[in-house]
Symmetry: D2
Subunit: 342 residues, 4 copies
């Protein structure tokens, strides 16, 4: 059975990535693509790499007949997303890729994003979209909130360790290295090739990055008490990839075994042999996560490193994985493509 | 029906690219992977991006039982390739990715590659592997010789024009811009990141690049008289992609129509609207070719630009396309993945 | 004696490059820096790489007291530049880096730039700023018009050949490969790192690039009759550098000797041994031009390749070289720094 | 007075960087350049970006007449360096850029580098070359041991804090991001452009990087008791730059003031306004270090980030700074060039 799919916000990178992935999905058919400012344009004009595909012309959201849609991906900016989703038909299955439904407490949302939440009913029903950990809830959900790409990476490294109680919860440092596509198609000087390539820097230093809201919510829930981590992202001159280097206190061998066991049956998560370090090179364009654990020379300390592609596993691939669950499809359908290397 | 596939020389880039592509092919199963110097290693050690796949361990060629192989891809260096293929079972279907069987005249081979050919019988039966133009011969072939990646790019721009007689055959200039993976996994100073990134240069200037042997052979055959083109390749700081900027004398509109007609039914070749220029960004990781034609301000001159991914359409994707033809499969099977952008 | 220098438009790349170069000049002192939208900001905020320098705060142009200025670099956008320069004090020495005073015929200016020229008197007195060929005129000039960076590169390859009459004037093709900083600090999607890196494409195909106005003017003047060249620029994923691959008809040895002789005494122009090809890697961040000549396999054809750094020799370095001439300083002062490699 | 300079190992990156810097030094003259495997070649053949300079041809070390040399830079691999320096004339001033004389305790050398030290007398007299902290000893030294580039970066962030006792000595984490030129001109697969660009990874994870020997020696000496830090380097797709993100426990404001005071009079070290983060973009090609301090959201924790160019301040620029001190020259001579941006 072929599912009819709409993508709202198809003129951004996550929208285009969804189209790329769905092109390889046997049971999905794209019936509508929205892009407010580019409505009326063909996708081939906005994204020439998709010119071989037969796709709907970009339209405005209010031009879409949602009665013919089985599932809607929403790749709009936060704040816009909640306003749009609030007004969509109540029975429509939705996977949202924005930040709007990730935080369960409206006060947390307002703290990190600055505005009061405008779709409280939908927020209340939304399920957090980290597929490997919310699989059952996602299967039953109408609205799934895709995670932040940095938040996903850090959680793949840490969730099983917090659940198992094998690390010190009060001394966790996440040093993330993020590729530029995570910033989206934004016209900012520091994202220009001339200013970004050939150098790198930290940003949002000191605990101001919004994805901390997700870490706080999820890690505290797992631990059953407040957990606060340190998190410093860095902007790296590459287009795709997040590498999370996580510094923890605990027994490295136990940590490695905990992760290996937790992810043993997972199709998309690979725990490397002990002492090996993953690379973003090896997950590029794919839905895979690679995780490696090393012991530090200082006893009782370990380094856990996780790598994924922010646009795929960190965003659109995760969204498709969730859609598969929501639609009763095989979870891996359309997602087993190998990474692109070199 | 599942075809059993062997890949010789699987530890290089074109070998890895074959594995990536075959991973998405429903009717192929890799049963043997050779790598002389890395025999005994797992592919996950040589190419960690393939660690999620269940693959044979790398072995030496003489350890392979070819009786259980339906088709063999040969991704070995030239000269080695002819010696290996000469000694393979006579009935085995082979797609060779090296230069060894591209030139029909043994004297041409020796002129461009410096050594006498060591497998004349096989050279005699080999079919030139530019799928779109040798489709029927490839279907019937036992041994197909994959084209040079630069040679493929230039031919996509020029073959229909030479056949149709719409350009001046004595004044054709191909200025090619080539990404670095075309040089293979060779340890040379000028291929180091520190020396290659952030700059670019021409190489093999003046008509010394070996792919000229293919241009001469193919264009002369099409024209029915000797054709010699000018061809200057440039090394660009990117990993995948060839852009051929071809300067010709002829009517640009006629040229555009000739190409649009020639490629009208081709699943992998896209002729852009007149006046648009293709980009290697838009074919990355895919089997597509984009071609654009513009008129110059000087009357009677046109610029034809073709873009493809050297590892996919220029090499391993082309090889898989040919294998599909040889095995009676749908030509596009496993090859319709969209390009990776950004 | 120390010359007092003002830079208008100091918040763009050519402005910052001027500051970098003047920092190494023993006889220049920057007394004013303008930046209309960033007036009031320190240069260290706009360009943190200059934070070690003691520099004037950015101001608006009308806040500058030009009576204390010996020479003014004008790094403003075209059209703005002519309006500003028209109203500057009549005796002020000016080096303009915009396109506004490059074309001698106001009709040519309007043809290529679309608007009527607003400073005809100044246009009339302006000297074309290609230092090596207009040295005497520049020494005596009040207003010098810096050349286009592509126009400079092509002229270094071709001027001596046209003057000497050693190439066919009716069949000249310039295929240029340009780094992204030539586009300036403009916020455009195709200049974002995510869209520019890892791929490349031609633009302004077919003879529409504005620098053709300079080629037409200069080459026709040299030849004493109209000369029209073909010129196709390509955008390459690198920050600095222009490589001009020039296809000409003529005797390659004679061409090489003509260039070697023409540039024999030039401190900034290096003609490579016959048959060698230059690289933008080798001129990065410097005021040098490298030129190489090769014979093609087709008799009577040659390839001339020139490489320079668009921001230095193609723009701000050239401007400083001209300022040295106008101020009676040694032409090379502050400009002999070696290229940055790797 | 002009000092006569020899550079041993001039065919590597640090050798070429020394030549670049000395080209801008008014009182130094290069009289000998060695390169064992490339002896007999001109520097213009090995490094075409230096072709405008008049330089000695590369020779073998034993061909150099050291009686005419005032100071010798030794840019050889470790182990080779000690054997060569042991046999050089006893009165010759030497700046060594290798690891051979950095560690004062021969047992430490053997622990980190694997072989017994072969020049114990020279090791005994060598002074550690971190100019800002060993200025007086360097002025009086005959043999100065340049620091590791990672070791230098971490020390700029931490030395004043350890001296002042304002951070917890038992919980220091250095997460370093290193550009590829730090690996030298080595022919390794992972340094190829095709394998390095577009991705990134940690290496030497867990406390195995040799520069830890320097951290241990220097920090313990400052603290008067053993100090062991955690240090994880990452390989980033860029050519120049090291960014050290240092996680410490202490009062961020006090930390900032301590650094600002320590570096107040230093010409090459810039402490940014509190809360700002430095970028390797802003020090590229220069001898400057940028340091920024931020408070974390968790009370009592701070992030100190330091950026420098590994080939300049981390290696050859530092070496020249030390040579200035040893020769009685102004410390900053030839080193005040502004960074290259973009």
């Amino acid at each position: 059975m072929t599912h009819k799919i709409a993508i709202l916000g198809a003129s951004g990178y996550t929208g285009a990535e969804l189209v790329r992935l769905i092109a390889g999905h046997p049971n999905m058919d794209i019936v509508a693509l929205s892009g407010e400012r580019k409505a009326g344009m063909k996708m081939a004009e906005v994204f020439p790499h998709l010119r071989h595909m037969t796709l709907p012309t970009l339209c405005k959201i209010d031009e879409i007949d949602f009665s013919g849609v089985d599932l809607c991906f929403c790749a709009l900016p936060h704040k816009t997303s909640q306003e749009v989703i609030r007004d969509l038909p109540g029975g429509l299955k939705i996977v949202d890729l924005s930040a709007d439904f990730r935080l369960r407490d409206p006060a947390d949302y307002q703290k990190w994003y600055g505005n009061p939440h405008a779709a409280l009913a939908q927020q209340d029903e939304a399920v957090y979209g980290l597929s490997e950990f919310y699989r059952d809830e996602i299967r039953a959900a109408r609205l799934v909130a895709g995670t932040g790409c940095n938040a996903a990476t850090g959680q793949f490294a840490l969730r099983p360790l917090i659940s198992a109680g094998v690390i010190d919860l009060d001394d966790i440092i996440l040093d993330l290295k993020c590729a530029v596509s995570g910033a989206g198609r934004s016209l900012k000087e520091n994202l220009l090739h001339a200013e970004l390539s050939e150098g790198y820097n930290a940003y949002a230093v000191g605990g101001t990055h919004r994805h901390l809201g997700e870490f706080d919510q999820e890690f505290s829930a797992l631990a059953g008490r407040p957990v606060r981590v340190q998190f410093t992202p860095h902007l790296i001159p590459a287009n795709r990839g997040i590498l999370a280097t996580v510094y923890v206190k605990g027994d490295a061998q136990v940590i490695n075994e905990t992760l290996a066991e937790a992810y043993g049956g997972e199709p998309f998560v690979e725990v490397l042999p002990f002492g090996q370090a993953p690379s973003t090179h090896d997950v590029r364009g794919s839905n895979f996560v690679h995780i490696g654990v090393s012991a530090d020379r200082i006893e009782g300390r370990a380094i856990v490193i996780a790598a994924l592609d922010n646009l795929t596993k960190g965003s659109s691939g995760q969204a498709l994985q969730n859609a598969n669950l929501m639609l009763g499809e095989e979870e891996t359908l359309g997602l087993m493509m190998a990474p692109l290397f070199p």
